[in-house]
Symmetry: C2
Subunit: 272 residues, 2 copies
């Protein structure tokens, strides 16, 4: 089964488009974990235990684990073994030439056993192929991101009148998706851009950061990004779930916020 099929099955089984970003910031951990030598693992483990039936996917950002040094990589390795009914997207934004990309793919898909990875398309198709040749694993390509600097390159207008990010969407849908395992990262903060990408890519799954802390509007984003089956989206939230409470009840608070977000998504999704 291709990754995009696997993702669709998981979305239906969990009845959820919620993706929880795991970006553990050691300075923001609950005070109750202050004396825990394995605090980041304990914290993420508790969040996952409290939300694994609510979220369809988890998206650990490898940068936050790398910043901890060796222990961070070891922590991430253990966390990614906790559940296998969720889709694990390693947020790594990789992109490099063939033999290097193969090494990154080995790290992501073998060492971490990730179901999917985020990829940067700037170096072109041959740098994506070592990931995408694994049909059962997915690659979410950066298309139109939610940060202010996305305008520097992504919005540059090409000679054919399109902004660069739509050329990326076109390549993704029409050249790089031969194994049915390509997705796109499209920020939730610009519904018009999201709609334009959906028009070019009616069948690709999109990973949407930008809801919550970054200010994206959930209803607008869903209406712009849902596919013809009212699916095909992963709505990522990180801080609003992970730091729903800094008190000892942080896991229960995370669960409540995850349920609230999942249900708010499903209300729009099933209201058509």
């Amino acid at each position: 089964m291709s990754f995009n099929q696997r993702l669709q099955v998981a979305i239906e089984q969990q009845n959820s488009l919620l993706c929880i970003g795991l970006d553990p910031d050691v300075t923001k951990l609950p005070a109750s974990l202050r004396d825990d030598a394995d605090a980041v693992y304990t914290f993420c483990h508790e969040i996952i235990a409290a939300t694994h039936d609510v979220a369809v996917a988890y998206k650990p950002n490898i940068a936050f684990f790398e910043a901890m040094g060796l222990v961070g990589i070891e922590t991430l390795t253990r966390l990614m073994q906790l559940t296998r009914h969720n889709i694990w997207i390693l947020d790594a934004k990789r992109g490099d030439i063939g033999n290097t990309a193969s090494a990154y793919a080995q790290a992501a898909f073998t060492h971490f056993n990730a179901d999917a990875i985020t990829l940067n398309p700037y170096m072109g198709g041959d740098t994506l192929e070592p990931f995408l040749r694994h049909a059962d694993r997915g690659g979410f390509l950066l298309c139109r991101t939610s940060n202010p600097g996305s305008r520097d390159l992504q919005e540059l207008i090409l000679a054919d009148g399109r902004p660069l990010y739509l050329a990326v969407a076109d390549l993704a849908a029409n050249q790089w998706n031969t194994n049915h395992n390509v997705g796109l990262v499209v920020g939730a903060t610009q519904p018009d851009a999201l709609k334009a990408v959906r028009t070019i890519c009616p069948k690709l799954p999109f990973l949407l950061p930008g809801i919550g802390a970054q200010g994206g509007d959930l209803v607008q984003a869903l209406n712009a990004g849902l596919d013809a089956h009212r699916s095909g989206l992963l709505i990522n939230v990180s801080r609003s779930v992970m730091y729903a409470s800094t008190d000892t009840n942080y896991a229960q608070a995370a669960r409540a916020e995850a349920i609230r977000t999942r249900d708010a998504i499903n209300q729009v999704r099933h209201s058509a």
Copy 2:
């Protein structure tokens, strides 16, 4: 002292533009290391010990170490402590939003103590700033890479008639280099493109992959890329030095090949 100044001083002190890429491939290690439990460390250590007075810089590609799992990160950490008179460029091609980029910068500049890092500019200026705010550390931005897929995005023609990679060069030189620590990655395989980038960026250092295994012509690349002071380039070679011999004399063979390449570069450089 800014990174670009530090690099220039190192180039003059070593009288070398040679950068050795450390891409250890466990399947290519010399047979004599077969029973060495720490073979990748031993191999890279021997290469470094044999070339540290010939190369101005080392460029370990973190992907090859990540692919080894925890032990790879630990190996790279030890290797990057071996010399401090060389410039250490962590080849990681990172690029992510603010707090994530800060975490990557911490991993690169604090954990690994890298002097510079390679960065992917697709997400824009605010994703580069967490690295570039460290004026004594450098960021080499992907501009025009040496792989076939570089044409997919980098050569797309913009409405103003320029290819995308020249817009990146322009932003690098005229917007992002306020701390004098921006460099560019420009493949040696396309001398015309290299010359066009040099015209836009007369003062930035360029890191040139593509000589050797990838077929770039050294003399053409130097003539196209040297700055007004016959400097401002790092010529990267990886496989031709690391795998100069697979026999027990691999370190001596690596040294001989490094000296040959450094001298061939200097002959062109000092012949003007």
